[in-house]
């Protein structure tokens, strides 16, 4: 009791809190507990789940969602959504593939052009949002449909079919593949390079959020954009930047798709945007903005990867697959919310 009395005299922000308390207050804690629960569940029910090769498959599945979930989480902390994220991945891959093929250019040129165009799509989303002040849901729903149409339209116009032609025999393909779609063999286990991309993106995003001024801006615009503007936060720039972040990750994912399969189906990617949002939400990002973390989104993606592949390892009837998936995600999120509530009550 004596410490509280003393502390109340001092500034409460300087109050020392124990490590446990501080951990409990973190947004990702609940999702970590959920992840542990899901992991234990499948470790007990699915015998092949614990094999090293299975874990690498699970990690790979998680990373393909996780790479996108990181910037989507930042965007959600900033108070906005991006429904075009799923098809943007495919757009990025299509641009890169078709540019290289049609111009008979080194694949790296296509990769570079794709980066510029994809970032431009992100800027388009951001500028349209900040200029029109319309909800991001509507704006990005519009870009979602436009990109879906452009993907199919341009691919058929340029390639004559609905998928691109293989660029596997072009110059620069091998080196680009090494960067975006290679895998390292550690012991007997394949580690896909996307897992490394994922970890790096999470680390960078966490650093930005917690250690830089930009991180504070993101929390501020998500919490209350008007108040943030009043204290001098560049709201417009922050939001455009967040959309560019999503575009950048879409570019990384898109190049991974392209260089692992060397031909791209123009109709893919639809619906994936929800997986990214789910991963971020399961990981503790609030749908209303202002709260969340990049690590949480990564854990959310991991829960999703474990669940979707665990069901296969457990050899359950696939007719019920989507039901199990939904139930597991709901349970993980409920656990998350429960843990957070308990943590808030204590601190």
């Amino acid at each position: 009791m004596s410490t509280t009395v003393k502390a109340s005299i001092r500034d409460e922000r300087l109050l020392h809190r124990s490590l446990v308390r501080r951990l409990m207050g973190r947004p990702e804690l609940g999702s970590v507990v959920g992840a542990v629960a899901v992991f234990l569940f499948f470790a007990l029910t699915a015998e092949p789940f614990l094999r090293a090769s299975s874990l690498s498959t699970v990690l790979y599945a998680s990373s393909t969602i996780g790479i996108m979930a990181v910037p989507v989480a930042l965007l959600m902390i900033g108070g906005e959504f991006d429904l075009s994220a799923g098809v943007m991945v495919v757009s990025s891959a299509l641009i890169s593939s078709m540019f290289s093929y049609q111009m008979t250019a080194n694949t790296w040129v296509g990769v570079g052009v794709s980066l510029l165009v994809t970032l431009a799509i992100g800027v388009f989303n951001g500028v349209l949002l900040t200029r029109t002040k319309l909800p991001s849901f509507i704006i990005t729903l519009g870009t979602f449909f436009m990109l879906t149409g452009l993907n199919l339209g341009f691919t058929k116009l340029i390639s004559g079919t609905v998928s691109t032609k293989s660029i596997a025999d072009m110059e620069g393909f091998e080196s680009a593949r090494a960067l975006f779609a290679s895998h390292l063999t550690i012991g007997e286990v394949d580690v896909q390079v996307t897992i490394i991309w994922w970890i790096v993106l999470v680390a960078v995003a966490t650093w930005i959020l917690l250690r830089t001024r930009v991180g504070n801006w993101i929390f501020a615009v998500g919490g209350n954009a008007d108040a943030a503007r009043a204290v001098g936060v560049p709201v417009t720039k922050t939001k455009i930047g967040l959309y560019m972040g999503v575009a950048f990750a879409a570019w990384v994912s898109g190049q991974h798709l392209l260089f692992s399969y060397d031909a791209i189906q123009s109709g893919d990617g639809v619906g994936n945007e929800f997986l990214y949002i789910i991963a971020a939400a399961v990981g503790g990002c609030l749908m209303t903005g202002g709260f969340g973390s990049a690590i949480g989104a990564a854990v959310g993606a991991f829960i999703f990867g474990m669940t979707s592949k665990g069901i296969v390892y457990a050899q359950w009837n696939p007719d019920w697959y989507k039901f199990f998936l939904g139930a597991m995600l709901l349970l993980a999120t409920l656990l998350n919310a429960w843990v957070r509530k308990r943590a808030e009550d204590k601190s």
């Binding site: 092949p48 094999r51 079919t161 609905v162 399969y261 109709g267 893919d268 050899q315």
Partner: protein, 404 residues
């Protein structure tokens, strides 16, 4: 179907007559058939008016009866409605169709006992099917039947997205299954995992799509239908029937398999053939498009649809347009079998999905047991099988059972 291009088959049609319930493997019990039907009161029970006893009580217990009476009356009304509903449902028993007919059909399907004493191997099948797809349901049934006979543990997974389909294959490799069956609807996406499976010593058989890539990827055999060959069979059949001008109805723009079907038919057909693109996910649009085409050109004497569900729609369009064109179709379902029988359809060309599942399991078993490989490096064709009025009666029962 998200990916129209590489689904040459007719998986995408979500046939309303899809009968998952038909599954012979999980034979439903007869619990819906009540043996006591005769003892139920039939018709509404006259419980609306208070009885004499009520009235007598009412005079004695004036104060309480108001409240209680209302409650009672409510309860009576409810029970009367319930009894009426029960009576109506019992009086309105259907002597045809429904669950009872289905159970009778299920009783006729093959039994479930292993016919071999080989070890219990695990075979997995991964397709590019979407959720709840009739076509793939039939493939699965064939595979399950063969699995029972061959003492195989059969696993099934599907995802319409290429990346996730390949991840599914990977997870079955992780589980060290004894054999794999995959569809190569998106060959480039599946190349890596198919090769990985071979590296892990797991034999692979491709089904349905990927005839061109199957051998190059190192699969044992490919089982499916050659779309061009199937189209050519349609052209021949149209010639035999003396048709002069045909319309080929494509319900998915940009689907390569569909283009091959129409082009194949065009190749062998001696008359002229036109293509008509319709939006397959929008049935009213399909009907009105065919209808207006038939109205615009009354020299069209046959319409070929590329999927079973569209045949019935084309029949409606023909009636509306007052045309005399014959409707023919690719693939088979219960409606098509009925149509063939009653003469509203000319013929159907089937690729026998049951066979694709059944043979895939059987060939894997043969390979494991006896190192046998079928096909000699060429695709094993399950179609086209031309079905006309004379075959329809026999097939009617089979389509209802869900194996054709």
């Amino acid at each position: 179907m998200n990916d129209p291009m590489n689904d040459p088959m007719d998986g995408p049609m979500n046939d309303p007559t899809n009968n998952r319930m038909n599954d012979p493997m999980n034979d439903p019990t007869n619990r819906y058939r009540s043996p006591v039907t005769d003892t139920w009161p039939v018709g509404p029970v006259p419980a609306m008016r208070p009885t004499q006893r009520d009235q007598r009580e009412g005079q004695v217990l004036v104060a309480t009866v108001r409240r209680r009476g209302r409650v009672r009356r409510k309860g009576r009304v409810a029970s009367a409605v319930l009894a009426a509903a029960l009576g109506a449902s019992l009086a309105g028993c259907s002597s045809t169709g429904g669950l009872r007919a289905e159970q009778e059909r299920a009783a006729q399907t093959a039994g479930g006992k292993a016919a071999v004493n080989t070890p219990r191997w695990t075979f997995a099948m991964v397709t590019h099917s979407g959720d709840g797809d009739t076509f793939w349901d039939i493939v699965q049934k064939g595979a399950q039947q063969a699995a029972v006979k061959d003492n195989i543990k059969f696993l099934y997974g599907h995802d319409e997205e290429a990346q996730r389909q390949s991840q599914l294959v990977q997870s079955y490799i992780d589980q060290k299954v004894d054999g794999l069956i995959v569809t190569l609807a998106k060959p480039s996406a599946m190349k890596d995992v198919v090769e990985k499976a071979e590296k892990a010593g797991i034999p692979v058989i491709t089904v349905n799509s990927g005839a061109a890539e199957s051998k190059a990827f190192g699969a044992l055999s490919h089982i499916g239908q050659d779309e061009t060959v199937a189209g050519e069979a349609v052209g021949d059949e149209l010639n035999k029937r003396g048709r002069k001008k045909a319309l080929c109805v494509l319900h998915e723009q940009g689907n390569v398999g569909h283009e091959q079907r129409c082009d194949g038919a065009k190749k062998t057909f001696k008359g002229t053939m036109e293509k008509l693109y319709v939006e397959g996910t929008n049935m009213p649009d399909v009907q009105s498009s065919i209808e207006s085409k038939l109205q615009a050109d009354d020299s069209i004497d046959s319409v070929v649809t590329l999927g079973a569900p569209f045949a019935a729609t084309a029949v409606k369009a023909r009636e509306q347009a007052g045309s005399k064109a014959e409707i023919d179709t690719f693939d088979l379902n219960a409606q098509v079998a009925n149509g063939l029988k009653d003469g509203s359809l000319g013929f159907a060309v089937d690729q026998q999905p049951y066979l694709q599942g059944y043979e895939a399991i059987d060939l894997l078993w043969l390979y494991k047991y006896n190192s046998d490989v079928l096909g000699g490096g060429k695709p094993v064709l399950t179609g086209p099988q031309v079905i006309t009025k004379k075959d329809a009666a026999a097939l009617q029962e089979l389509t209802k059972r869900g194996t054709r």
